[in-house]
């Protein structure tokens, strides 16, 4: 017996996009509804929709106002958003190798100290997690994962770093993430993976999809170096399991 779904808020993002907002906070149920609506829109072609962007709590729907107007599209989106969320029958599951600590994860020691634990224990808790790709955004392949152990939640850095390495695995607030390109970040850096979630001239260019399941496995620095060479040559390195 499905619970009655609350209607989403439809927020104008200018004249060519609508934010379909299911929640104002990070919320597993809201994220499932976002991904369900995203799948529905991929199936039911609505003329005028040009692109959809799932995020934690809302689906951004880009459209062409020449082909459909705000009111008409809003009506259709509300109707579709209130359909029961179908169970996910097939989910891709990735295992991503991570070299934790040391030069690969410069914040691991600090995180352990702050959380009154040991680096080994922090790694064990991070590896034990069963995560979902809640959204991909900011820069290409930056994958935000939900499902972080509550005991690993930490506020973001007061002063974000301007550059953090490609492949960084980090934690921030209730989230953990796989960062593809080097770039700024205010999260705590636990390790690095050789896996490229975005790589040109590889098929596929983007590895992860919103909704994919992710687990991590700890590897040593030597394995990381070998995998990094293989990944640079176009190998995927991550293991794909389907459940």
């Amino acid at each position: 017996m499905a619970a009655t779904l609350s209607p989403p808020r439809l927020l104008p993002s200018g004249d060519s996009a609508i934010t379909v907002e299911f929640s104002r906070s990070v919320d597993e149920v809201a994220n499932q509804r976002v991904l369900a609506l995203d799948r529905t829109l991929a199936r039911e072609t609505i003329t005028g929709i040009t692109e959809t962007v799932p995020t934690y709590r809302s689906l951004l729907v880009h459209y062409d106002p020449v082909q459909i107007d705000f009111d008409t599209l809003s009506g259709k989106l509300v109707t579709l958003a209130l359909l029961p969320v179908p169970p996910v029958t097939k989910m891709r599951r990735w295992r991503i190798p991570v070299a934790y600590g040391g030069e690969h994860g410069i914040d691991l020691e600090d995180v352990a100290r702050t959380l009154k634990s040991t680096p080994e224990n922090i790694v064990a808790r991070h590896v034990a997690g069963d995560y979902r790709v809640a959204m991909i955004g900011f820069t290409p392949g930056w994958s935000y994962l939900s499902g972080l152990d509550a005991s690993l939640q930490m506020p973001r850095l007061q002063n974000p770093r301007l550059v953090t390495p490609a492949g960084t695995i980090s934690i921030g607030g209730v989230q953990t993430g796989v960062q593809c390109l080097a770039g700024p970040s205010g999260w705590h850096l636990l390790g690095r993976t050789a896996v490229r979630t975005y790589q040109l001239h590889r098929d596929p260019i983007f590895l992860l999809e919103p909704g994919d399941a992710v687990t991590f496995s700890a590897v040593d620095a030597r394995t990381f170096a070998e995998q990094d060479r293989a990944a640079a040559a176009g190998e995927i390195v991550a293991e794909l399991m389907t459940s």
Partner: protein, 350 residues
């Protein structure tokens, strides 16, 4: 193939087109021209597809030299001094450069970006359907980075087609129009402040975002929201209360509340406002914004109908070739070839 050699160019200059769409869900931002009307204008003048790739030239000057054949070009966007080996070039007209000639562009005046379209477009390998430079993602062709002196762009030999000018509709002025939201409910009285006061664009602005300077826009509940999707023209307000308008190289998601969103029809006009120049915002209804978006789209689609022949002189490719053989000498017979009449410096749409 002819080619266009970049002999000098300032920062913030890159190959741009209509942008790449469809991969924002993977964090890949669309990029593309800052001023789509100016891009479309330059392209239309040389018979290219409306959003074909062209050279987006930032506020500083630039120099381009033609090698291995003639090249037909058009310049649109910000006004600037422009000449080809001594003869003035008028914005919003097409012209043909002979082998060896140099186009020299001055600083942008009353705008920021100009577009140099090359007849036949720019040769390159599209990724996700676009040649637009997105340096952070390693995308863009023929160079996945801003242009530098010494770069060369392959170009089709000039067709010798008659040269055009274009009758653009009168430039829109007045406040930059916005639709409020998606998170305007995160702001109280600050909404009125945002709409009532004058703003300036900070010099710390780029293709990712234009930072605004003006009154402090206070949040009702703090400046952190859960990240959600962004669009070109999102006006996000970080903790310091100074809004940032997101531009085509924006991050695809952001964690600051967005008080308003620029209307599509005003994005290019906004991109052309120089740092330090005062302007205001005005809220319009969704119905008005969408009517303007449709009008703008129709205008872009029908730009080729606005082309007019440049009829009081003959510009002819054979004459150019002859002239080139004759060096820099300009014969009385061919005088028309060398003097593009410019009754007035055609104002750019900005």
């Amino acid at each position: 193939m002819s080619k266009l050699v970049i002999s000098a160019i300032g920062p913030a200059s890159s190959v741009q087109d209509g942008g790449r769409y469809g991969a924002q869900r993977y964090g890949l931002t669309p990029s593309g021209a800052m001023d789509r009307l100016a891009l479309a204008t330059a392209n239309s003048l040389v018979g290219n597809a409306t959003f074909a790739a062209a050279i987006e030239i930032g506020p500083f000057g630039a120099k381009f030299t033609v090698r291995e054949g003639a090249v037909r070009i058009a310049l649109a966007g910000a006004s600037r001094n422009a000449d080809i080996s001594g003869r003035a070039v008028v914005s919003n007209t097409s012209t043909t450069m002979a082998d060896g000639e140099t186009l020299t562009l001055g600083f942008a005046r009353g705008g920021c970006f100009s577009y140099l379209a090359i007849e036949g477009g720019i040769a390159g390998e599209p990724m996700f359907g676009s040649l637009a430079v997105n340096a952070r993602a390693g995308l863009g062709s023929p160079y996945p980075r801003p242009l530098q002196a010494g770069d060369e762009l392959q170009a089709a030999p000039a067709s010798g087609a008659a040269e055009n000018r274009i009758d653009l509709p009168p430039p829109v002025d007045g406040p930059i129009r916005v639709v409020m939201g998606p998170q305007d409910d995160e702001f109280g009285d600050a909404k009125a402040l945002f709409l009532d006061r004058e703003w300036k664009i900070s010099s710390a602005s780029d293709r990712m975002g234009y930072r605004l300077e003006g009154p402090v826009i206070k949040h009702l509940h703090g400046h952190n929201i859960v990240s959600d999707g962004t669009v070109n023209g999102s006006v996000q307000v970080p903790g310091n209360g100074q809004p940032i308008v997101l531009m085509p190289d924006r991050g695809t998601s952001g964690g600051y509340p967005k008080i308003a969103t620029l209307i599509t029809a005003d994005l290019g006009r906004f991109a052309q406002i120089p740092a330090g120049t005062g302007f205001r915002f005005k809220a319009v209804s969704m119905a008005e914004a969408q009517a303007e978006a449709r009008k703008f789209s129709e205008m872009l689609r029908t730009l080729p109908d606005r082309l007019r022949p440049i009829d009081n002189f003959a510009l002819n490719i054979e004459a150019l070739r002859d002239a080139n053989v004759a060096g820099a000498a300009v014969s009385a017979v061919d005088a028309g070839t060398w003097q593009i009449p410019s009754p007035a410096d055609t104002p750019a749409h900005d």
